[in-house]
Amino acid sequence: MLSQILYALPFLAEGFALTLWVSLLVVVLSLIAGVLLGVGLVYGPAPLRWSVRIFSDTIRGIPILVLMFFVYYGLPAVGLHLQSFWAAVLALTLFKTAQVVEYVRGAVASIPKGQSEAAMAIGLTFRQRLTSVIFPQAFRRFLPPWINGVTDAVKGSALVSLLGITDLMQAINQVIGRTYEAMPLYILGAVIYFAVNYALSYASRRLERRFAFIRD
């Protein structure tokens, strides 16, 4: 049994690398999209605000799995052909983006109105107020929930296995298909996911403490 698992290790490592790659892509892309849309939600003109609100509430209201199938099977049906890898990344990114939008909104909303007013009073323009006063403060409030949410991206990435992408989850299933050693391999997989996410949440707690110097 042990030799079979050892034999499969390189294959599992490749799957693990793909898990990390998908997670990284999703985290980075959703950060960019989420911050842009989040700022649009808070400061944009009404049509943009409404669009982002509807986007976020819809995406957060359905299971990721449904969103993933919708993107994966639905896009080709309307003539858009994406590789399954990119369809999966797109779906996970959409989901994560909706979360990031809410973190941004919450972070900006938590800055007291007096901060904007004080910035106005010394004559800063709208853009200067955002870049010099609001965003530096909002950033510190955005960071903790966002980093906590990175583990969600890693966990969520396991769903790409359902689109036939050989991530860690899929690699484990394939090795089980060959070796019939279900329990040891699932436990091995659980331990790997646990190690990654536990390390991430440990790092997030450290970072949180570093940025906690603003007292309320």
Binding site: T58, G61, I62, P63, V66, V78, K155, L162, N173, Y198
Partner: protein, 221 residues
Amino acid sequence: MGYTLNFNLIWRHFDKLWGGLLLSLELAVISIAIGIVIGLVLAVWYVSAGRVVRTIIAAYVEFIRNVPLILLVYLVFYGVPTVIDLAYSAPTSFVVTLSVYSGAYLVEVFRSGLEAVPRGQLDAGKAIGLTPWQRLIHVRLPTMLRITLPALSNTFISLFKDTSIASVISVPELTYGAQWINFNTFRIVEVYLVTTAMYLVTGYALLFALRLVERRFRAAR
């Protein structure tokens, strides 16, 4: 391009979606019920226990929270029966998984709820001569439940969405129904539009109802 929407086939097989939705709700309700029991027992135990028990409970919570649900679902359905001589159906297996999963989240919810009960209330309980057990039942738990109600609602809504994972072990819930129609009729866009709408309407209706219940509870005190 030029995709024309045609919902006829969806309506013809709508029982797959409707039945699926009901099963999704059933799975979520049973799982959170068991999860609440697990969470309550472990949370009460945690706050009164010593180092060893605390470490074990914390390990359970951390483990579940850091592993993908889909892996837990596979592990319980395909893995566990290979080492223990137990036969269970896919829905049962999924309920076990989701209960253990929600239990881990609820331990945290209840634990912080218990710690948020004001000291003064416990002292008042002591002052009128309640035993520790009576203080727990009559003072601590009721107050804690009121504090944790919103978190409980949120957990329930996300469990309802998590039931979609049951489709990977062929439990015929809503997502499974959607896939069945997808593969058998190829009305892909239509079926996922309808499914999305069903999840959204049900999810937000539940949320709305639960918020009403929360308000009731607050007003009643």
